[in-house]
Amino acid sequence: MPSWPALASQAFNGLALGSLLALVSSGLTIILGTLGVLNFAHGALFAVGAYAAFVMLQYTQSFLLAIAVGCGFMLVLGFLLERLIIRFFYGRPHEDQILVTYGIGIVLVECVRAVFGGNAQRVPTPSWGQGATQLGFLIYPTYRLQLIAIIATLLVGLYLVLYRTSMGLVVRAGIENPGMVGILGINLRRTFLLVFAIGVVAVGLAGMLYAPVVAVTPDMGANFMAQSFVVIVLGGLGSFPGAVVGGLIAGEIVSLTSAFNSSYSEVMLYALMALLLVLRPQGLFGSEGRV
């Protein structure tokens, strides 16, 4: 049995890990929850975001500036993907959407590999986030502490834009009945475009913020994509608050299991997902029949 300080440390770590998972999953859930598209290029876009930060950092030498420019790049990439490919798939079955986004993912990852090679790239921790901070009985990396605050702000911002403005309403109405929304004189095309691009920026931003922590390689997104799916299944497919709560729960499970035995942490996560699928198939915040 681990000591109380060890458990408390892991519980805190679960919060930090969970907030990162929530941010990583948010891009996936935005696109799924509003446009109804299951985006299998999610992992690849995460990697593209991290590489964008890496490249911009070389030019700007400032982490914040690199992230700002990187977000601009992801926005343009999101626009292009939506206009050139995704918009033709809104009305198609999920199988088609999965195939096309999966294909986009492969192309993006191999483009990254062709340009940068297969080795990990170095994205240093920003100067304001270096070192570790003593928090009572535990020492925690300063950058991760800052990330919790940054991510909380971002998630609240995303939620307000998508669900407390008319844009979210228009998108959801447009998915249900595009003809009627069109008759009301609303430009659906532009709204869909914008929402998809916001989703792409969200996942890219997660990649940028995570780049100083993980190994930046072309395949880095694969694991995050798998975890994101677990998180949104836990929280409820397409539910934004669900992704946040699901992320926090996933983080706590991984962390608290590690206090006992780290080799079981991932197994416990999937076990919980399986249990939830049996007891509440729509997830914690999902509504039946949606998506």
Partner: protein, 439 residues
């Protein structure tokens, strides 16, 4: 040149045809036709099939490995000074140019087997090489033995390759986990002190477990005591929960067994958790590009071992030739993946020229007999052990240099010791090796 009995027996008309005349009792069982031999040997060329992950998680090491093979093949085909220094004669191997193809296998054993099967059936490959994972190497070894085509193992460190999964048609030049640990433990104990407390980070697959078993055993013999062991899934991206336990374990030494991108992520995060300030880092098997990927700031003071480091060129003339040619061609210093590709290709070519035949049975028997006639290589004199096909070879032990100590951008390590091969070998039957039949 000194001729031995075997070369005299195998000379003459048989060699001209690429065939071997039976001579003496030991060679009576050699079939005239086996696997892709002699169909795969034309008057002017032979084909070599390379199965290498160029995409996927092993693509970094795979790219390096590929450049090693290509350098060796181009040198051998040109028949210039480089090939002569290895003792090869004329252009190509036995006068045949080496043709080759590289198949991207993504590091997936099923794709390795699929590509290698194509190389055998379509191209009549006379030799197979490649792999950047122990799982791939095991699959290819089995295929080679079933199809009777020689397979020279690429990057693969698990004890099983020349242990319970060993095969008659597979030969490995890289040291296994046991050898690496036995060579490394006394050196680090001498440098860091006896009676240290250790915390292990172990990736949960065959490689991770065999490296852990071996290093835990030999570090214990040095008086080291384990206080934490964190087993994590392969491909973990966030190690924070395992690192919290390690940070609070009170250990003096952090033994990180994670490999490749996992090694990069876990070490980077260990640094952020302040683990590297409190503990010395030991990496039983250093990943190929770990130095560059993490940078000297983090890698300074780390102790580890690997197949080859480029400053060995100060000790061995053939290593100098290799490193210089590689840098000239590829504009960076070769890592040990490239070295394995390069050396394994030359070892095969040298053996073929020794027996004056591409017949795999002849080549295998000569490799098995290499203890009497060791190969002069980029790491000095080496030979393959007849019982399990593991190479007996020196093992470099490295220490990461601080940024200020580096004399060039890629001068990441100091070679603190080169362990002598014979002294670190496991007993040949320890891991249950049973080589199959020749035919």
């Amino acid at each position: 040149m000194k001729l031995d009995r075997r070369q005299i027996l195998l000379g003459g008309a048989g060699a001209a045809a690429g065939l071997v005349l039976p001579g003496g009792a030991a060679w009576a069982q050699t079939p005239a036709s086996i696997g892709t031999f002699p169909d795969g040997v034309t008057a002017d060329s032979v084909f070599v099939g390379l199965t290498i992950p160029l995409t996927g998680v092993f693509s970094g090491d795979g790219g390096d490995l590929k450049l090693g093979y290509e350098l060796a093949i181009s040198e051998i085909n040109a028949g210039g000074d480089a090939a002569k220094k290895w003792g090869l004669q004329g252009k190509g191997v036995l006068g045949r140019q080496i043709r080759y193809k590289v198949s991207d296998t993504e590091g997936k054993p099923n794709l390795d087997v699929q590509s290698a099967t194509q190389f055998i059936q379509r191209d009549k490959a006379i030799m197979l090489a490649g792999s950047v994972s122990s799982a791939s190497a095991i699959a290819l070894e089995e295929l080679g033995s079933r199809e009777k085509v020689l397979y020279m193992v690429g990057i693969a460190g698990s004890n099983d390759i020349t242990g319970k999964n060993c095969q008659r048609y597979g030969f490995r030049s890289q040291q296994n986990a046991y050898m690496a640990a036995k060579a490394l433990a006394p050196v680090v104990a001498k440098a860091l002190g006896k009676n240290m407390k250790t915390a292990f980070l172990v990736p949960d697959y065959t490689y991770g477990h065999t490296v852990y078993d071996s290093f835990a055993k030999f570090s214990k013999e040095q008086g080291w005591q384990q206080v934490a062991k964190e087993v994590v899934p392969l491909g973990t991206t966030d190690y924070s929960s395992a690192l919290l336990n390690i940070a609070n374990s009170g250990a003096d030494v952090f033994v990180n067994i994670a490999f490749g991108a996992d090694a990069v992520a876990s070490t980077k995060q260990a640094e952020q958790f302040g683990v590297l300030k409190k503990m010395k880092l030991v990496v039983p098997n250093l990943s190929s590009f770990q130095d560059k990927e993490l940078g000297a700031e983090i890698m300074q003071g780390v102790y580890g071992s690997c197949d080859f480091w480029w400053t060995l060129s100060d000790r061995y003339p053939l290593a100098k030739g290799f490193v210089d040619a590689f840098v000239a061609k590829n504009k960076y210093h070769p890592r040990w993946g490239a070295h394995i590709g390069y050396m394994q290709t030359y070892l095969w070519a040298m053996t073929v020229e020794r027996v004056k035949s591409f017949n795999p049975v002849e080549v295998i028997k000569a490799m098995e007999a290499s203890k009497e006639q060791p190969y002069e290589t980029t790491i000095g004199k080496v030979y393959f052990r007849a019982e399990d096909h593991q190479m007996v070879r020196p093992i470099p032990i490295l220490r990461g240099k601080a940024p200020a100590e580096m004399k060039g951008p890629e001068d990441y390590y100091e070679i603190v010791d080169v362990a002598e091969g014979e002294s670190v070998m496991n007993p040949p039957d320890l891991f249950g090796c049973k080589l199959g039949p020749y035919t």
